[in-house]
């Protein structure tokens, strides 16, 4: 049994949970943001026409794979020149859209635009077979899986620009002609949907635009309008004023922002209805009012980089938090001291300090990463610009301050659940919301926009 195992068992279970939570938090922060960004970029989008799976013999496709011409003579209903895009429409966004420009409507103008599935019979007009849809130029009808179409919009011919789109928010297909929406229908098609175009009479020629060139239709404006529609629906939900007040106040209490809290209480005195009682709205302030002044002091000290003084105050006021020098809390404080020494350029002192206080953590798997990153700071002339530069930012000080804050809260004998020390109601609300949105999206087969907090935060602005 190695020494390190012995040490970790001596720490009590409560401390183990809380301190380590913050350790994980500062490690994971940067990578999680990047992962989110990458997910949104990964989806493939149609860029050109698929020349392999097309009704060869009836059409010829240009070398750039962005136009198609009917080469046969239209004799019957099974010699349609159909062609799909090379990839299906991406689903992880609000709307997918593409356009065609009718270069030549040929003899009969039997052009179509729509969506089909992978196994579509490539000699039929989109919409004539099940699980496909098509807006036809010769009759202006919409076909959705039957030979008989329904009245939908105007006909279209040479020179017209026609677009087809999928609105994942409303689960609808919509079509446009020359920049105007023509109509929309419910989307009940299954499976990956391929943008599809078709030509069916002599000399018909169509050019397609998958977004490489600007669309005739103002897609951005349409998207903005759709978002606005959703936003207006959401705004109809009334939020009792006390709730926002309570959540903000509890945030300030939780993290020990005593000065702001005092200003806040003075300012809100006249506006909050006098009948506001914290408990009635469900917010328990007793737990978080505990040791407000101490927590504020410690936060200020840490934010100013005064780690030694912070240690001193903790030993004086809450010795139980720092008595185990191998706890996550002590570890984070020692690292921060090290970082502060590097920050002011006292590298020799930093090395000495590291040898005394940080070396014992080097072998412990949980602490190893952070220790390595800290030590790595010494290697750079301009550490702020290096991959470990994040340690020198304000955010790192905040993590340490938050840890100490949580630890002090945990010494409150009236604290009902230790996890309440970790985050205030506000963060919990945010997490709830994100998780709900993720769940909803997965119920929708991963379609639609990912939840982006920024969008919600910015959604109030118009124009």
């Amino acid at each position: 049994m190695s020494e390190s195992n012995g040490i970790s068992r001596r720490r009590n279970a409560g401390d183990q949970d809380l301190g380590l939570y913050f350790l994980e938090a500062c490690k994971g922060r940067e990578t999680k943001e990047k992962e989110k960004e990458e997910e949104e970029e990964e989806e493939e989008t149609p860029r050109e026409l698929n020349t392999i799976n097309s009704s060869g013999g009836f059409v010829v496709v240009s070398t750039d794979k962005l136009s198609v011409k009917y080469t046969s003579v239209n004799l019957h209903g099974h010699d349609v020149g159909v062609i799909q895009a090379n990839k299906p429409a991406p689903t992880k966004r609000l709307i997918y859209y593409f356009e065609i420009h009718v270069k030549d409507a040929g003899v009969k103008g039997q052009i179509a635009i729509g969506f089909t599935c992978e196994t579509f019979k490539m000699r039929r007009q989109p919409g004539w077979e099940a699980n496909s849809c098509g807006y036809h130029g010769d009759d202006g009808l919409l076909y959705r899986g039957h030979g008989k179409g329904e009245a939908f919009g105007p006909t279209y011919t040479s020179g017209d620009v026609v677009g087809a789109g999928i609105n994942y928010a409303s689960q609808e297909f919509f079509f446009t002609k020359n920049g105007q929406v023509v109509g929309s229908v419910y989307n009940d098609m299954k499976g990956p949907l391929f943008p599809t175009i078709a030509v069916h009479s002599q000399n018909e020629e169509v050019h397609v635009n998958f977004g490489q060139k600007p669309f005739t239709f103002d897609l951005k404006e349409f998207e903005a309008q759709e978002r606005m529609k959703q936003q207006l629906k959401i705004e109809e939900i009334s939020v009792p004023p006390n709730v926002s007040y309570g959540i903000v106040r509890s945030y300030l209490l939780h993290y020990g922002y005593e000065d702001t809290l005092n200003s806040f209480d003075v300012a809100s005195k006249s506006t909050v209805p006098p009948i506001y009682i914290a408990q009635e709205s469900g917010i328990d302030e007793q737990e978080i009012m505990y040791a407000l002044n101490h927590r504020k002091t410690l936060r200020q000290l840490i934010r100013n980089g005064d780690i030694d003084v912070a240690f001193g105050k903790l030993r004086e006021w809450y010795p139980q938090i720092v008595e185990d020098n191998t706890s996550a809390t002590c570890f984070l404080l020692h690292c921060q001291k090290f970082i502060e020494l590097v920050r002011v350029g006292a590298l020799e002192e930093a090395v000495k300090y590291g040898r005394i206080e940080l070396s014992s953590f080097y072998d412990l798997p949980v602490f190893k990463d952070l220790v390595q990153d800290c030590v790595a700071l010494l290697a750079y002339e301009r550490p702020l610009e290096s991959s470990v530069g994040y340690l020198l930012k304000e955010s790192q000080r905040e993590v340490v301050a938050d840890t100490v804050n949580a630890m002090i809260l945990s010494t409150n004998p009236n604290m009902k659940e230790s996890k309440h020390c970790l985050q205030s109601y506000l963060e919990r609300l945010l997490r709830q919301l994100t998780a709900c949105c993720l769940e909803r999206r997965s119920l929708n087969g991963e379609q639609g926009e990912a939840f982006q907090l920024q969008r919600v935060l910015n959604s109030g602005r118009r124009g």
Binding site: E33, I237, S263, Q300, L429
Partner: protein, 215 residues
């Protein structure tokens, strides 16, 4: 809560977003000193346009809250003529506040005159008719506080009107009408509603703020 806790334990929350949410609330309510203190204590980024007419908004809000509707209207029109012109509902509500003030000060003749000249014209539209009737009913009671319409005299009602006015001014200044916090709660409610509808019996129950806060 019935959502799988593993789902949201892993959700990373950005401090900057949290700060934005808190600041949005403070700015919305014109708590200038609190905004400054918060920025100092947390190192949060100072939002670009937050001071935009905050002092003016604050004064207007407080006048409305006290029931001094005429002053609130005057200052609002100074800020921009079209805020009230484009918002008849708000205009009616503000004028009715003044009416209530007169009733409370027992200036009944003045109240009647005011109602006839200023509120009456609104009565042509059915939606204002009902409201107007409620207000006029106050005149029938020697002690309006004891009438069934007593809520029209309350601080809560004045707060409602003051809030609407504040939101209208914010919209005019191209700032959000609703605080980030409100939008979050609204979003959470809507999404939970959808989830319980779509998932049926197996899904989580509709969002209850109270339950959430108690959890």
């Amino acid at each position: 809560m019935d959502l799988d806790p593993r789902q949201y334990e892993n959700v990373a929350i950005n401090d900057n977003d949290i700060h934005s949410i808190v600041l949005s609330y403070l700015i919305h309510n014109c708590y200038k000193e609190s905004v400054e203190s918060f920025i100092t204590s947390t190192g949060a980024k100072q939002p670009a346009d937050y001071l935009e007419d905050m002092d003016k908004r604050k004064r207007i809000f407080h006048f409305a809250l006290e029931g001094n509707a005429l002053k609130a209207i005057e200052l609002t029109e100074q800020l921009a003529k079209d805020i009230l012109e484009n918002n008849k509902d708000l205009q009616f509500d503000l004028l009715s506040l003044h009416f209530v003030e007169l009733v409370c000060s027992r200036k009944c003749t003045e109240a009647l005159e005011f109602a006839q000249t200023k509120l009456g014209p609104f009565g042509k539209e059915p939606k204002y008719m009902e409201k107007l009737e409620d207000f006029m009913a106050l005149l029938a009671y020697k002690e309006p506080e004891k009438s069934p319409m007593f809520h029209l005299l309350s601080l809560e009602y004045r707060q409602q009107v003051a809030d609407s006015l504040n939101r209208a001014i914010l919209a005019h200044l191209n700032l959000p009408r609703y605080t980030a916090m409100e939008r979050l709660i609204q979003q959470a409610t809507v999404v939970r509603q959808c989830l319980s509808q779509e998932a049926g019996k197996d899904g989580p129950p509709p969002f209850s703020l109270k339950d959430f806060l108690k959890s």
